[in-house]
Subunit: 383 residues, 2 copies
DNA sequence: ATCTATAACTTCTGCTACGAAACTAACTCC
DNA sequence: GGAGTTAGTTTCGTAGCAGAAGTTATAGAT
């Protein structure tokens, strides 16, 4: 495993802010950067020069909308100047991606976790890291995400799916691979991916609701993630949404877990049908009009609509992003979801700008890579 | 009416940030300020000198916790160096306060609004402004708050209680009095008062729920108010809280208005008793054990508990502040409120830090004064 | 009492990074 | 081809910063 030499490390604060603005908001001309950062044109010449010299930025052509005057030369980060790895751990698999500085996925791999002992998981991850890392010249950082929480981005405080408590995962992985490593909650990682490189890019306030094995929630306000000790524990995992809904394993009636999660939907429909069905079967049945499945998926859609309305009413987001491997519920139960969303929303309030993401399982891993990218470019890594 | 000459206007950005930090966080020594603002000790000597000279700051004594070394001299703003007025308009009254730069109330007045025509209301307000303004040397700015919304802090876009649409209130008042005027939604004003000078001072994230003629909601995240076009229209005014609750005038069952507001509680109890009762009577009856009143107030308490839990779950605040002239509901219905709050909250989540404010009606007006103070010290006023 | 350690605060100096202004460059429109 | 317009460069003066050295004021040890 080749560890890349740092490139963004010697940057002064203003130089870093120029590089970040470009990373963040795509190709920009010097003149535009000067306006955005409230700097003079002269300062921008000065600041961009060394960034071009060391290869962080490059000139990528001319502004297409050719108005009058000298054409603007666009600057962009060189996405392939740095490479990052992201790994998402579930209870039984590790999903890994190799990405550029812009979080574009170059390659992906997955491996089963036969045993959950930290040392064994680290060994499996090292294998993935080796395989993906050998494809490029050097890796700048590794991000790991999982269902659970980490207070310092190094230690896994709690990971229920792996039965881990206080595992120094980052240290173990750094020892095994030599890479700088950051650990983060998976929903936060997906939220940051949307924030920096996804549907949340142009919004200074948005919410992410993930539907999958559980229900997760991430919030960005004033262009910054709302970080709270409670953020990692899934505060809305058992949110009351329908007092007539089915019982969840923790004893709530109609909570978000029982109404929306993959296990919740599967268990409701399996009970109704008297046999075990997969999640996709559930939604296929509902889509083709099977009465019980239709009813359960519509109830789920309504519960999701209410959840979205609650989030929209209380956090006033510019956008609400639905993501996660169970997001198909929002498609099949769309009409019911939208109906309830409108019912629970003040008619004078602005329309909820809803974005249902097509979700590939490696998106979770890409989120982990984004955490690595963020820590790298913000200068938080000191390997 | 004497208009005070500007004092904070010629300040450079770093000097302003020093003055703001002191206004914000009470008396501070130069050394402490240097640490907080990431400046050198030398810079702080330089920056504080002119602020002391022009009378914005003054030395107010020695740090009480005397450790070893030279004692620190505390700097504080001179609260009486500037005076501000705040006026809250309801549908039938104007409440006005005179405050210092620290938003301490010096005097208050109120006047009935016999007619709602903007010109007449402005005349009534001018009378209050004259009475209060003559008590001190000069007024720096006037803030006006009301139930309704203003997009530019000058024009009242909509004020249902006054039947106003697009009234250029600030301009009219400036013409009448010569003062710089800012207009703001009343709940936002109260939230900013808590943010700068109240229970929210030390928290970078908190929520305010006001209970009164309606139910209002303000949110501060990352030490900044969450401002949205939707913020002024009372998004949670008709929030679904209890599907078995009474009907509100807009046709919702058990929404926050019907369950929590003063008119909602009064109407429920009046119907149950077959006679018209005041709000205080309602709560007295409940407190002394009248069965119907007790039941209705407990239902209100439970609805409030659910609302607090929803806010806490979705915005993860460090503190939730209850305020407003109907806040007594939280006292009389306290047990029911807390019970439901815990039910709707994940057991692993941190305890909700709840603050029930003693609410005097002039608090609404003080909020308006705080909006004036903010605009003044942030340099947004150019009279 | 006197000395030492510590910390707040002041004064001075040199440097950095900024904006302003004058300039060059590249293009459009007439 | 000139006028107008905008992008980007170069140069220069300077505001405001940190850092160092010095001063002041205290507690605690000797």
């Amino acid at each position: 495993m080749h560890v890349a030499s740092p490139l963004w490390n010697g940057l002064t604060e203003p130089a870093r802010s120029v590089a970040l603005e470009v990373l963040y908001h795509g190709p920009l001309s010097r003149a535009e950067l000067a306006r955005r950062l409230s700097l003079s044109a002269g300062s921008l010449t000065r600041l961009s020069k060394p960034l071009l010299d060391i290869g962080v930025l490059s000139e990528v052509g001319i502004q297409p909308e050719n108005r009058i005057g000298r054409p603007a030369v666009l600057l962009d980060v060189v996405p392939t100047s740095r490479f990052f790895l992201g790994i998402k751990l579930t209870g039984d698999e590790a999903h890994a991606v190799l990405t550029t500085l812009r979080a574009e996925v170059i390659a992906s791999e997955r491996a089963p976790l036969d045993r959950r002992e930290p040392a064994e998981v680290v060994a499996t991850m090292s294998g993935l890291i080796g395989k993906l890392g050998d494809r490029v010249d050097g890796i700048s950082a590794l991000g790991v995400s999982l269902g659970g929480s980490s207070t310092d981005n190094l230690t896994v405080a709690r990971a229920p799916y792996l039965d881990w408590t206080d595992v120094p995962l980052a240290t173990m992985l750094t020892e095994a691979t030599g890479l700088p490593v950051v650990v983060e909650n998976d929903v936060i990682a997906v939220t940051e991916a949307e924030h920096w490189f996804g549907a949340g890019r142009q919004y200074e306030r948005f919410a992410v609701i993930t539907v999958g094995m559980g229900v997760g929630y991430g919030l960005v306000v004033h262009d910054k993630l709302v970080a709270s000790p409670d953020a990692g524990i899934g505060l809305i995992g058992h949110f009351p949404l329908d007092s007539a809904g089915p019982l969840c394993p923790m004893g709530h009636h109609g909570c978000s877990y029982s109404m929306l999660s993959i296990p919740g939907i599967r268990s409701s429909i399996s009970v109704a049908l008297g046999r075990d069905v997969t999640y996709d079967e559930c939604l296929d049945l509902a889509a083709t009009g099977h009465p019980a499945a239709r009813r359960i998926v519509d109830d789920g859609g309504r519960a999701l609509g209410r959840l979205i309305a609650l989030v929209a009413n209380l956090t006033m987001p510019n956008k609400v992003i639905l993501a996660g491997d169970g997001v198909r519920l929002a498609h099949v139960g769309y009409d019911a979801m939208i109906e309830r969303l409108h019912e629970d929303r003040d008619p004078r309030a602005s329309r909820v700008n809803l974005d249902i993401q097509a979700f590939d399982f490696f998106e979770w891993a890409r989120g982990a890579a984004v955490i690595a990218i963020q820590n790298y470019v913000l200068g938080n890594l000191h390997p």
